[in-house]
Amino acid sequence: MTSAIDDEVRTDGAPPKKPTKRQRQAAAIAEAASGSMKVLLLKIVLLGIVDAVALYALFVLVGAEQWIVAGVVLVVAAIVNWIYFSKRKLPAKYLTPGIIFLVVFQVFVLLYTGYVAFTNYGTGHNGTKEQAVSSLMASSLQRVEDSPTYPVTVVDRGGELGLLVTDPDSGDAFVGTSDEPLTEVEASFDGDRAVATDGWTSLQFADVLNRTDEITELAVPYSDDPNDGALRTPDGSSAYRYISTLEYDETAGTMTNLETGVVYSDTGVGAFTSENGDQLLPGWQIVVGFDNFVRAVTDPRLANPLVYVTLWTFAFALISVASTFFLGLFLAIVFNDMRMRGRKIYRVLMILPYAVPSFLSALIWAGMMNESFGFINQVLFGGASIPWLTDPWLAKLSILIVNLWLGFPYMFLVCMGALQSIPDELQEAATVDGARPWAIFRLIKLPLLFVTVAPLLIASFAFNFNNFNVIYMLTDGGPRDSNAPIPVGFTDILITMVYKVAFTGQLRDYGLASAYSIIIFVIVAVISIIAFRRTKSLEELN
């Protein structure tokens, strides 16, 4: 490529003076940036791959009739091509991949959480109404009492499926379809099973599998009397007589229990509901508006725990930030002092808690804090039985201690860096002016430190506000508050409470959990905005 540059230099009629080293370097960089042949080829190959993937995705999506997603893929692929083939748009070239990933992994997730918060998605409201209906109909089938197993062969007559049934008692063969009840026919037998009859083609197992949907739907009336039930075959080789206990009236949209006569109708709550409020589950997903938010703050079962969990969450996050910061700062000052010997070794030791994954440390601490067998009680307190994790207040203290252990190395590192960036001249000047060390620290170093560290403190607050690992691994929110109606404990913070509402127990409520997470998001966002505004005033110090 350098020769090409030389050529260009000559054709442009530049002076024959040899370019300096710097000029040649600059030219090489410019050349690389403007895109050499290799780069262009690479670009084409990469875009080709992207387009190929997009095209394949389009075919699959169109095949699955996912029109909206297909449209999005098409538009994104077109934009990507446009950006990378255009000669300008340099910033866009760098930003596009990041933005695409941001949209897929962050924005979409946020929007979807937001959407779920306005639905009744959870146990019993998991799918669509059609799925609920078909599931209810399937589970309402009851085998006619004392009816035998009928060996069957699935048979076909011009596309219409029928069942060739052998009566296990008499050994006679019958045939019937969805519309025609069983009628006796002549058939050829293989052992006890009728396998073929005139006018019908017997299906082989592979054909049976290919027509699974039709066979699953096939119900052959046993006789003209509907109370005798209908024959259905779940596996294509044996049939059983079922009667249904539910009847679905599609036009009225109601389910009727044939045994009790109770009518269940769609009253807009996402499940078939009878007049006295009984629901048939499964129901289906519906949009419920602000119900989840209203429930979270007004339902006394949920609102009481929400209040004290919120208070503890704030206390936990604030105390954690403060304690880790001041311990980290103190240690940073100590180890920043030139008179301290062996500083490097100490610093490495300080970082150790930071190097171990936090969930692992929390588990180890949980073991050490065990009341009867833990290291702390057995060794440090000589066999005392201090209920570190089972007393409400001690458990809170334990959480704070462990989080201090986990968090101070980070603050130590941050403060160390910030302290070293404060020029020594300031201290010297202050000393010359006769200031005492504490005054220097309080009036000069700390404010300067805060300028650098304040945004990190806010980030640390936001992190601790949602510090799931420590709580979940150390106490799992316990000790449990046995007075609370939901399984919430004294050390639960908002995020672990959300986890319990959404993912534990047999009654999940994803809608409510999403509403909680939106509330949490709003709280964190508001606090961060206010705090960042305030730190601006700090920056004016500089």
């Binding site: 080709g48 089938l141 197993t149 779940p234 044996s238 059983y240 994790l389 046995s482 993912f503 047999q506």
Partner: protein, 413 residues
């Protein structure tokens, strides 16, 4: 140079068109492949299996493919994820055709409408009764059972050669052998009612009564007189009493105590037998020693297979489960891999040649299926906490009455 670049661009354009064309072809052929996949999809069953049992099923899956031409695609998944993923994916139509799981998921799966009923037909009589009871929810069978699990007492036969006659005898035998804590059972800060249930049943206090549909959620039995007696007994064996039960003993601590020989009796399940045998302990399996004159019946957990309500291959799935996995050979094959008592009676008999399996099976005769009704969720929520409080010295009768009231309120909510 400029000319160069233009020609390059032209070459690039050609390259792109070709790439796109090729990609188009690839997409096209992929699509047609997909199309043919649709017709052959009827003969591919996707089965979600606990990662640890994939190998056990592999042979059975291959043999089934050979026999019928239906391909069985085993997907190993973490057992903890199967239920939630199944509930979430089935409504989107993307889940598996079959999933392996435990019977106490049934209430949740059925309430969410994600499982299809299974008809075992006459073969239902060939299974252990507890397995069939457990697979049935509100009168409908939803699961093909393959294994039955229950807890029993593991005894260190080198320390205590004879089985204990009852609970007090067990403690006395252990003390006589010089053990400070002869009996260990897994508890924890939030209690562990599953492991305490045998003792509770010995006092005649099941959780729910039963009717012809199975467990009856409207008939809460936990708070009866027997329940209060149990609470008093539990309190007497807790922190302020003999100290036999201790909420600080979790699964790991109990295991260590038994493996180190500092405890001679360990109330646990078959999943821990391997570790004890590997540690060189001469393990014997005993029934749970009862604190009363009545037998102590543990919960039975039944493992099995569910069919997705949205499966496109229901016929093949039913055939694979009922007519193939329900055969003695395959159940024995699964038993060899998992070492848990098979659900099919004939296979269970063969498997009981192993004294440890026979020991668990004998205890299992007393076992009752763990309730799978959703109301059980409300019970779990308070049950362990109340027991832990009683063990730690709370007033037994008052705590037990509060537990009953809480459960009742949560169920009728």
């Amino acid at each position: 140079m400029r000319v160069n670049r233009k020609s390059l661009l032209a070459a690039g354009a050609v390259a792109i068109v070709t790439t796109l064309g090729l990609a188009g072809c690839a997409g096209g052929s992929g699509d047609s492949g997909d199309g043919s996949g649709d017709s052959s999809a009827a003969s591919t069953l996707t089965v979600w299996v606990d990662t640890e049992r994939v190998d056990a099923l592999k042979g059975a899956a291959e043999a089934y493919t050979e026999k019928t031409g239906v391909k069985v695609d085993l997907v190993g998944k973490d057992n903890a994820d199967i239920k939630d993923d199944f509930i979430q994916q089935v409504p989107t139509g993307k889940g598996p055709d079959i999933a392996m799981g435990a019977h106490d998921w049934l209430g949740e799966l059925s309430t969410n409408g994600v499982v299809a009923p299974i008809e075992l037909g006459d073969s239902a009589a060939d299974y252990l009764k507890v397995a069939i009871d457990a697979s049935t929810y509100e009168g409908t069978t939803y699961m093909l059972p393959y294994a039955v699990e229950n807890i029993a007492v593991l005894r260190n036969a080198d320390l205590i050669p004879e089985p204990a006659a009852n609970f007090d005898d067990m403690i006395a035998k252990g003390k006589a052998a010089g053990l400070a804590q002869p009996f260990v059972v897994e508890q924890g800060a939030e209690g562990n009612p599953y492991h305490l249930y045998p003792f509770q049943t010995a006092f005649g206090a099941p959780v729910f009564g039963t009717n012809d549909q199975g467990y009856d959620p409207t008939d809460l039995q936990i708070g009866n007189a027997g329940g209060e007696q149990f609470a008093q007994w539990l309190s007497g064996q807790g922190k302020n009493g003999t100290g036999v039960f201790n909420t600080d003993i979790d699964g790991d601590i109990a295991k260590t105590a038994f493996l180190d020989g500092t405890a001679a009796f360990w109330l646990t399940g078959p999943w821990n037998v391997g570790a004890a045998v590997d540690a060189g302990i001469n393990v014997a399996i005993d029934p749970v020693p009862s604190p009363t004159a009545d037998p102590a019946s543990p919960f039975a957990g039944v493992k099995g297979f569910f069919i997705s309500a949205e499966s496109k291959n229901k016929v093949a799935a039913n055939d694979f489960l009922v007519n193939y996995l329900g055969t003695e050979d395959v159940q024995l094959e699964l038993f060899k891999a998992g070492n848990v008592l098979p659900a099919l009676s004939a296979a269970a008999e063969t498997a009981s040649a192993d004294p440890i399996i026979a020991g668990f099976a004998a205890v299992g005769d007393q076992a009752v299926p763990m309730p799978a009704i959703p109301a059980m969720g409300a019970v779990w929520q308070y049950w362990g906490i109340a027991q832990a409080e009683i063990i730690n010295g709370a007033d037994p009768v008052a705590t037990w009455q509060k537990l009953t009231a809480d459960v009742q309120a949560a169920i009728s909510k």
